[in-house]
């Protein structure tokens, strides 16, 4: 299981989101999920299982991967944790601390 985040530059917003997803994974008690951040132009269908992006590049991210999650806020841990848990379940990963 791999989750990636993307933004236009691949080092600010996406990096922040990746760190917050890692925090969510820890809170959820999930191990062994790989995460990374990159610029949107580098994302392809096989880059990962799930792509997280902010609402402003949702359009650019459409169709890049099979599973794309759009976040309204990149720092709202409550929603990020909820979205990460849902994504894990979609991909058959058990979530201990739901």
């Amino acid at each position: 299981m791999k989750i990636i985040t993307a933004c236009s530059t691949g080092l600010g917003s996406s990096f922040m989101t990746q760190l917050n997803i890692e925090k969510a994974l820890k809170n959820l008690g999930v191990d062994g999920v790989e995460t990374d951040h990159m610029d949107i132009a580098s994302v392809g269908p096989t880059s990962a299982d799930v792509l997280f992006v902010g609402r402003d590049i949702a359009e650019a991210a459409t169709g890049l991967m099979g599973d794309v999650v759009v976040l309204d806020s990149l720092i709202d841990m409550e929603n990020i944790t909820k979205q990460v848990a849902a994504a894990l379940e979609r991909h058959g990963v058990e979530v201990p601390n739901k």
């Binding site: 080092l11 600010g12 917050n20 402003d56 309204d72």
Partner: protein, 146 residues
């Protein structure tokens, strides 16, 4: 600690700015003065914000992280922050009101992980974020970032 990454003189508080371009000019000034970025980096940030989808630097909670690609003019990884009393509209888009704008200058995509960890833990803590957004002086903002 985030404060250890902030450029000397890089914590700024002013009442208001004319628009988001002025906010970028103000927040990048300490980094230009310290010679950690070039004028090209400031222009690259403005071009990025005014491009389609450029408001992606709005992290939520009234906070924006102004940044561009390293090759556009980053000399040394560094950070500055501006808080304004009256929110401005990022990219002139009223759905993106910003009270606090950080300027991140990163030398590459990964080297600044400690800085980003510190920033992420600040911004995901509702109490600390509220203190940042309520800061009325450089001393208050510095304390909120510590």
């Amino acid at each position: 600690m985030l404060s250890s990454y902030l450029q000397s003189g890089g914590v700024l508080v002013i009442d208001k700015v004319a628009d988001w371009r002025e906010a970028v000019d103000v927040v990048t000034r300490p980094l230009l003065d310290a010679d950690t970025i070039t004028d090209g980096y400031v222009e690259a940030i403005k071009t990025s914000i005014s491009s389609p989808g450029g408001t992606y630097i709005d992290l939520g909670g009234g906070v924006a992280l102004a940044h561009a690609r390293p090759e556009t003019g980053v000399k040394t990884t560094s950070l500055s922050v501006l808080h304004v009393g009256e929110p401005f509209a990022l990219a002139d888009d009223a759905s993106h009101p910003i009270s606090t704008m950080f300027c991140l200058a990163a030398e590459d995509a990964n080297a600044h992980i400690d800085l980003m960890q510190a920033l992420a833990s600040l911004l995901t803590d509702a109490d600390r974020l509220a203190a940042v957004n309520a800061a009325g002086s450089v001393a208050e903002l510095t304390a909120a970032l510590a």
